[in-house]
């Protein structure tokens, strides 16, 4: 809409308007090239830093053997289940806390303590309580994803402008109507920001859980490769994890653009 205001001269080409379309792959080639150059030039051993070609081979064999798919499906289920539990509980408790200043002020110091404690540190405890299976990973993922959601739900519900509340009051809206029609939609952009952080955290939680104790999953695969000094194998799994993270991020972006379309960032496509 804004770019159509330039009425003079010919319409600028796609490359002039969005040079990053060329620059992004160019930088990629540059990074891979220098990586290869440094590893070969300095004769760095494979088990310290593998060459890009070896990583590609390891990644490809992981994909074709079906090993990545099975392990990634496991890790992804842990992360997503943890995320959904965190989203549900975070929204529920955030909403309850936001209803009352007294509850908020009472719980505030506790929330700060819990929030500033690294939740990852309780992973070994959760393994003791819930075992080596999927349950403990879901709990760890949910624990780390819960707080960004909780905090953003509270902040979002508090951030509504007074005039919207006043408008609802002038119509004698019930508390539930005000929540459903004004507070919750107003909070959605902030809640979404929390969900985007939380989904990344949930993968982190699942991987750490697998590090602490597991039989399957991408985290476990990294440990196995580590034991065998298969550094290229570790890098391969990292590529796999990066793809997983980017995919989830893009899904969240897409959801955000659809659900909170009215915010400036959703309209311009920036984030």
């Amino acid at each position: 809409m804004d770019s159509s205001d330039y009425s003079t001269g010919p319409a600028p080409g796609l490359l002039r308007r969005r040079p990053e379309i060329v620059l992004i792959p160019l930088l990629f080639v540059l990074i891979i090239g220098s990586w290869h150059g440094v590893v070969k030039g300095l004769a760095i051993p494979d088990y310290v830093i593998p060459a890009p070609g070896q990583v590609a081979t390891a990644f490809w064999s992981g994909v074709t053997s079906g090993s990545y798919l099975a392990h990634a499906a496991y890790t992804l289920s842990e992360a997503l289940l943890g995320f959904f539990i965190a989203a549900f509980l975070g929204t529920l408790f955030g909403t309850l806390i936001a209803q009352s200043r007294i509850i908020e002020r009472t719980l505030y110091p506790y929330l700060i303590v819990i929030q500033t404690t690294p939740k990852i540190a309780i992973a070994p405890l959760l393994i003791i309580w819930f075992g080596f299976g999927i349950t403990s990973k879901i709990f760890i993922a949910a624990t780390v994803a819960f707080f960004p959601i909780l905090v953003n739900v509270i902040a979002g519900l508090r951030s509504i402008d007074a005039e919207k509340i006043e408008l609802m009051r002038s119509l004698k809206a019930t508390k539930w109507q005000t929540f459903r029609m004004a507070r919750l939609p107003s909070a959605l952009p902030t809640i979404f920001a929390g969900l985007k952080v939380a989904i990344v955290f949930s993968i982190l939680g699942a991987i750490v859980g697998e590090f602490v104790g597991s039989k399957v999953g991408l985290g476990n695969l990294i440990l196995q490769a580590n034991v065998n000094l298969d550094t290229a194998g570790i890098f391969g799994v990292l590529v796999c994890l990066a793809i997983m993270g980017i995919t989830l991020h893009l899904v969240m972006e897409w959801l955000q653009r659809r659900l909170v379309f009215w915010t400036a960032s959703a309209r311009s496509g920036d984030y």
Partner: protein, 271 residues
């Protein structure tokens, strides 16, 4: 001026039944330092059914306080507020309100924004929809029913807010400097429009402004208020043709009213 008399179809002031009565209403705030601040000295005022009453005064004269007291958004310290001779407190479903800013919900289309009061008040959907579309026609926004607020200019947004204030067919509409944020030309257009809407809808309008010409142009009566403490200095019957256009501001008679009102503020060392 027989022509002017013919153009004034409304009954004379004394014959009109009051719809809103303010009896010795007073508002005292507790200031930050603990000392009470009198925002509104005891004021008494009767607003006739179907009347267009404007309230004008500099900032701090209590005009917005008075409007918000009538809207039931803030409690009065002393005095009685009557609607149709019944004492009232709190917001009334039979009132509509337009704020200084449009206060539209960005996640709702223009039509759905207009329908908000109907939804809150649980009015029959089909009938409300027809009424909302009719109001959008009146404010000249029929083609924008499916658009979102961020696609509209400031003036258009405020017109949506006016349509919203009328959708539940309230007897009284309260307007708190609704055109204060608009540029002078849009403001003139909006003033003509609001007069047309008032004539067509037959609603009682209580209109707060800090613009003296706007108050004279719109009002059948103008309530002049002065600050410290906020009180009514004079109530002026404006005897101008009911069918007014913008050129009337250049007539001698209009100028007399403007000077008469300004004298109150000059005497107090305000302007």
């Amino acid at each position: 001026m027989p022509a002017a008399v013919k153009l004034m179809p409304r009954p004379a002031e004394a014959a009109r039944t009051p719809i809103i009565q303010l009896q010795e209403i007073e508002k005292v705030y507790a200031a930050r330092d603990g000392n009470p601040v009198q925002a509104l000295a005891p004021v008494s005022l009767e607003i006739g059914t179907g009347e267009f009453l404007t309230i004008v005064g500099p900032s701090g004269c209590g005009k917005s306080t008075m409007l918000r007291l009538v809207a039931g958004l803030i409690p009065r310290t002393r005095g009685r507020l009557l609607m149709r001779r019944q004492e009232i407190s709190g917001p009334q479903r039979d009132m509509g309100i337009v704020f200084q800013t449009p206060v539209l919900f960005p996640w709702r289309t223009v039509l759905d924004n207009v329908l908000l009061p109907a939804e809150v008040l649980r009015l029959p959907p089909a009938k409300s929809r027809a009424r909302a579309l009719e109001l959008l026609e009146i404010v000249g926004l029929s083609d924008f029913a499916a658009k979102y607020p961020f696609e509209l200019s400031g003036g258009m947004q405020q017109r949506v807010a006016i349509a919203r204030s009328l959708v539940h067919e309230p007897s009284v509409v309260l307007m708190d400097e609704p055109f204060g944020a608009l540029d002078a030309m849009t403001r003139d257009t909006m003033n003509l429009e609001i007069m047309r809407i008032w004539r067509e809808a037959g609603t009682t309008i209580l209109f707060v402004t800090h613009s003296i010409p706007e108050a004279v142009f719109l009002g059948e009566r103008v309530v002049v208020m002065t600050p410290r403490p906020g009180r009514i200095a004079e109530v002026i019957d404006v005897e101008l043709p009911a069918q007014r256009d913008i050129d009337i501001v250049n007539t001698d008679r209009f100028g007399v009213y403007v000077r008469q009102i300004r004298a109150h503020f000059n005497a107090k060392g305000l302007d």
